[in-house]
């Protein structure tokens, strides 16, 4: 089954949230 862009965006967004919440993304790396 081909993964749609919508579902891909959901997976990536929640992966980013999970990584940030367990502290695997250093805030300094992404400071805007």
């Amino acid at each position: 089954m081909k993964l749609s862009e919508d579902w891909l965006s959901v997976i990536i967004a929640f992966a980013i949230m999970a990584l940030a919440m367990i502290g695997l993304i250093n805030p300094a790396w992404v400071a805007f």
Binding site: S4, E5, D6, W7, L8, S9, V10, I12, A13, F14, I16, M17, A20, M21, G23, I25, N26, P27, V30, A31, F32
Partner: protein, 365 residues
């Protein structure tokens, strides 16, 4: 797109290498945008313009347009454009934005947004359909154009094109039309809102109701303020959720009335066309509201990542603009689109004030 649309360019090759190079270009340009944005913020520009009014969406779109021109001049745009993923970057960013919006704000705003969306989509769609008919624009093109201007630009154009079996050049034309009108509106609408001291929630609802593509809506909201950004995203996402219903209605009309077929399109099209990322946006808001995600390092990291993704999306808007596609269809559809956009802008202004300023204001932030 085929080579016939831009004869001077080599054949499009959607390869993994091309996509990765395109993506790398977006990453580098995002860093450039961030650098320029931070450099200009504390300055006063010629004409006494404070640098801080030039928010990052403006820089991103402008840098994207310049890069677009350079890549086309070097004849490499077609090879790398599969890495320019406006919609993907935008959708991820919108879900992350959901992680800072209280669920009560989302629900109360979505209530107003549904009312506003139904009024706006119906009025603008049928006005555009009627006007385009008066100017003799073919049914397929006016269906795609009317859906784009009344719902949410590019993705609505693609959804309706599938329903009415529009020609590929009609989709690329409307896509170019959407970006050409949305980019200036992204900058002008916040200026107008500022000039008349429009409250942020009303401004957000206005941007969500009148700017044609979600990226530009979020851009306008970002330029105006954080509350405007949130309400603009909620209103636009609510409007986006109506794509499926319109696609079903169009498929029904074209198959039964225009083509005279007896078979009816399936209701499944409503779910098929429903933008699933909106579910992620709602879930992220719930996660924030129930306290699984609290303000602190993780929260800031998520919101900063969101700003990078929005930067990439605004850059891609500039990078994807294709004037070549636009020129092929002539001026009549363009003029119709402009008139409908003005109608859309004025109607959305009245409706946003009525609903978000008076009848159904969102709960306090």
């Amino acid at each position: 797109m085929t080579t016939t649309s831009v004869p001077s360019q080599p054949t499009e090759r959607k390869t993994l290498t091309g996509s990765l190079i395109g993506l790398a270009i977006v990453v580098v340009l995002s860093l450039v945008t961030h650098y320029v944005y931070n450099l200009v913020q504390p300055l006063t520009l010629p004409g006494n313009i404070p640098g801080k009014v030039l928010e990052y969406p403006i820089w991103a779109a402008a840098i994207g347009l310049v890069a677009n021109y350079v890549l086309k001049a070097l004849k490499v745009h077609n090879q790398v454009k599969s890495g320019f993923r406006t919609e993907l970057f935008l959708k991820i960013g919108l879900i992350l934005l959901g992680a800072k919006i209280s669920f009560s704000v989302l629900v109360t705003s979505a209530g107003g947004a549904v009312v506003q969306g139904l009024i706006m989509v119906t009025s603008v769609y049928f006005f555009s359909w009627w006007l385009a008919g008066k100017f003799g624009i073919p049914d397929t093109l006016r269906a795609v154009m009317s859906t784009a201007v009344s719902i949410c630009g590019v993705s609505a154009a693609i959804a309706s094109a599938g329903a009415v079996l529009a020609k590929k050049e009609e989709i690329t034309y409307v896509t170019a039309l959407v970006i050409i009108t949305a980019l200036p509106l992204m900058v002008i609408a916040p200026l107008i809102a500022g000039a008349i001291n429009m409250p942020e929630p009303v401004a957000g609802a206005w941007f969500g109701g009148n700017v044609d593509t979600t990226a530009a809506v979020v851009g306008a909201g970002t330029i105006y303020g954080p509350q405007a950004q949130e309400i603009a995203a909620i209103v636009k996402n609510t409007q986006n959720a109506l794509i499926g219903v319109v696609a079903f209605g169009l498929a029904y009309y074209f198959s039964t009335v225009v083509e005279g077929k007896k078979e009816r399109p399936s209701l499944n099209v409503i779910w098929k066309r429903f933008p699933k990322f909106v579910l992620g946006f709602i879930l992220a808001s719930v996660i924030f509201t129930v306290g699984i995600l609290q303000k602190g390092d993780a929260f800031n990291t998520i919101q900063d990542t969101k700003a990078w993704l929005f930067t990439a999306a605004f850059l891609c808007m500039g990078l994807e603009l294709s004037v070549g596609d636009f020129r092929k269809m002539g001026w009549t559809p363009f003029l119709v689109y402009i008139v409908v956009t003005i109608f859309n802008t004025l109607l959305a202004l009245v409706i946003a004030y009525l609903i978000f300023g008076w009848l159904m204001p969102p709960t306090a932030f």
